[in-house]
Symmetry: C2
């Protein structure tokens, strides 16, 4: 089994399934998005299914939809990621815990500290999904009426990453000697003061928490624009991709892994996991019927408004049964717009048809039986279109249970997905190396975790 390439699976857990009709599906939990008992149950199911990570999406504003669409959506509210994932760390033992955090609307000292703390609390299971935040209305919640331009957001993100990783390296792994006899708590030679002064950020350090268990929590990235890919090639260890077709996936995979070579990184040190919306049925027809039923639960009022957001352009004035007009450039997410336009052109969809997809889910979907889904996943893996997937469940808990009980065993039978965890940290699950401390590269290999030892469940 160690010879066959292995799939890695993340679970994209918010907005629950992205699908705005999900909460109305028969058997769904209408409050699944913010009921702790439910989320605990979902995390444990994912862990029993040996997922690499529970991935918590995040937004720093109520989604920018008109109230007529918003009032129909379960995505308006959610737990905050750090508080939720720390709680989940105590009721799970192995699954990785990936939190989304913005480099545009937060401070590197806070981010470095919180991820270090989550990594200590979870004994090495934390990951940071770096986002630059696409929703321009977020700025209104943070004292500004102007969202930073796309290029500036990415330039700041790159510098932010340097600062955060530099802060994680404030202390050598073996800095805390705790010599009771001499009264020496730490060795001052093993403390580094960052003293960063850059274009966007100035941060002195040191961090007031010891080096994370994993050295650095796993770096995840989901941007898809040119700037997003470049940031990923330079920094990411996991990409949550958004290619909608296998051909697109292969091109993306080759592009990003090629960029890694240019910057001198080992392509194996990055796992590309496209987002995939998965609907499982006993037959392909049943799966399609499930999806059709789910889509029918999205109101047209919501669909057209979701479409406007994806395009960052109001198309509600055009003929709903005509084709999509030309869509201008914007300062919001380029890749969301490009993907949506490409979908319309590729499948020759009317605005009405496209709105239905936009209001549900317009990206890569595997809709079929455990076998057809496993076939597709295997093909993506074999053809190097991906290293696994970031799975989105159509509704909860049913869509997740179907995946766990039907698709996972099929993948395991084929020898392309683990039957059990082999290590304890998220880096172990993903086969990623523990980063050297850049300031104490040759320090003792014996990792002293502050939170390790006889700790409880989490």
């Amino acid at each position: 089994m160690s010879q066959t390439r292995q799939l890695h699976l993340g679970a994209f857990m918010r907005p629950v399934s992205i699908h705005t009709g999900a909460w109305r599906y028969p058997g769904a939990w209408p409050d699944a998005n913010f009921n702790l008992a439910h989320i605990t149950r979902l995390a444990r199911t994912l862990e029993a299914a040996k997922f690499d990570a529970f991935f918590m999406a995040d937004h720093l504003a109520v989604l920018n939809m008109p109230i007529e669409a918003l009032k129909r959506s379960h995505t308006v509210t959610s737990f905050e990621p750090f508080t939720l994932l720390s709680a989940l760390a105590m009721v799970t033992e192995r699954i990785g815990l990936v939190a989304t955090a913005s480099t545009t609307y937060d401070e590197p000292y806070h981010i470095a500290r919180r991820f270090a703390s989550l990594d200590h609390i979870s004994a090495g299971r934390a990951g940071w999904n770096i986002v630059t935040t696409g929703n321009p209305e977020t700025s209104f919640n943070f004292g500004s009426d102007q969202h930073l331009a796309h290029a500036t957001r990415y330039a700041r993100a790159r510098e932010f990453y340097d600062v955060v990783t530099g802060l994680w390296d404030s202390w050598a792994d073996d800095a805390f000697v705790r010599d009771v006899e001499q009264g020496l708590f730490f060795d001052p030679d093993k403390l580094h003061v960052l003293g960063h002064e850059g274009e966007h950020l100035s941060v002195r350090g040191p961090l007031n928490i010891g080096r994370p268990v994993q050295g650095w929590p796993v770096i995840v990235q989901a941007g898809a624009s040119d700037a997003g890919r470049q940031l990923a090639a330079e920094t990411a260890e996991v990409i949550f991709g958004s290619e909608a077709t296998r051909e697109g996936g292969k091109a993306f995979y080759a592009d990003v892994k090629g960029r890694m070579a240019v910057v001198g990184r080992d392509p194996d040190h990055l796992k590309i996991l496209p987002a995939a919306f998965v609907v499982v049925g006993e037959t392909v027809e049943e799966a399609r019927a499930k999806r059709a039923h789910l889509d029918s639960l999205v109101h047209y009022d919501s669909g057209i408004r979701s479409l406007n957001i994806m395009l960052d352009y109001d198309v509600s004035g055009f003929d709903p049964d005509g084709p999509l007009p030309d869509i201008p450039e914007s300062n919001a997410s380029k890749s969301a717009r490009d993907r949506t336009v490409a979908l319309a052109r590729r499948e020759n969809l009317t605005i009405r048809q496209l709105a239905a997809r936009a209001g549900s889910y317009a990206g890569l979907a595997f809709v079929g039986t455990a076998k057809t889904i496993a076939d597709e996943m295997e093909a993506w893996l074999d053809e190097r279109a991906s290293d696994g997937f970031n799975v989105m469940f159509p509704w909860l808990p049913g869509g997740l249970d179907d995946f766990a009980t039907q698709v996972v065993p099929e993948l395991q039978r084929r020898g392309i997905f683990r039957k059990d965890y082999e290590g304890t940290t998220l880096r172990d699950h993903l086969g990623l190396p523990r980063p050297e401390n850049r300031f104490f590269a040759k320090a003792a290999r014996e990792v002293e975790s502050e939170a390790a030892g006889d700790q409880p469940a989490g």
Copy 2:
């Protein structure tokens, strides 16, 4: 028992005991400050002893001591409060969880969201200790080389409080109707967009999480300057006081409760809990010997430097065996300086003697047997010098275990401390009302908690 005034007890859990020698005390856990298994054990002991709250201090920088002092202190590193308290919410059931968060170095949207999330996760046990951050070096970690002036910090804090509480009230308690049939997730009439535009902050809202279980998490305040008292009188529901004598405590108590009347608040809606360092012995002599031994574990190098910080003035050039010179005003914590100067004058201490106290703990201390300690606590309560205490343990776990097994039963025997929790939320423990939603004051009283229902331990 409901007739006798009751003590309220918080546990001040970081820096562990404030006492920089604590980690060297026989039987102490040198890593107690950041070992999750240890902290879990401490939280459970406090809950078994029926404490109102576990109070997590916090600082956004490594303490500003010279390296020669710093390297001897266990206070350099700690878990981040929100990640820690969310984890502790899952291993406790009743005890309140108070996190410290700064109004100077954070954003109200983040703060409102995180406390709401912690309150949902803990089913109504969150409290916010509002601090303006005294350590001027914190600014270096947040992109500025200039700490805000004391008055500006407090003006911002006051506005910050308005914004945070306004964001908590974004949604009526019964906003989320989740009408599956009609496809209506929430009632748009029960959503309020804050639209705050103030002198220091501009925040649109709404918050992307439902109203906290407690309406608002409990508001805690620890500032002691005139501006600090005024902020407390206007906003706080708990004060962690810092008066070192019962006379001072009475004056403080009368002053703040008097200020409340002026602003039209009910004085019972604020509990004043001075910080108290408690050392328990079988005899008073044994308790004093314990403290003397503990103090002897603080190096003079640390003591003199801690003293300089408290005074925000370097006195190491003066004769150690002479009296304290006049100390000028500064921009850092006025009350710490005033208290330290007062202690020196009151007990006629030399710089050397004062340094020993500064390096250990210079504030209110109860050093004696369970009986003498209970006598003192009862006297403070009876004379309205306080409504309870924020207890600091001299070392862990021993100092806490002594308190839990000896002092708590004595207080219970006297009928001034609960034998069991009567309610489930921190507001219940403290006898505080649940705030009305300022935008939906007459909304249904039936509180719909997003996280309530069949949730697990936490």
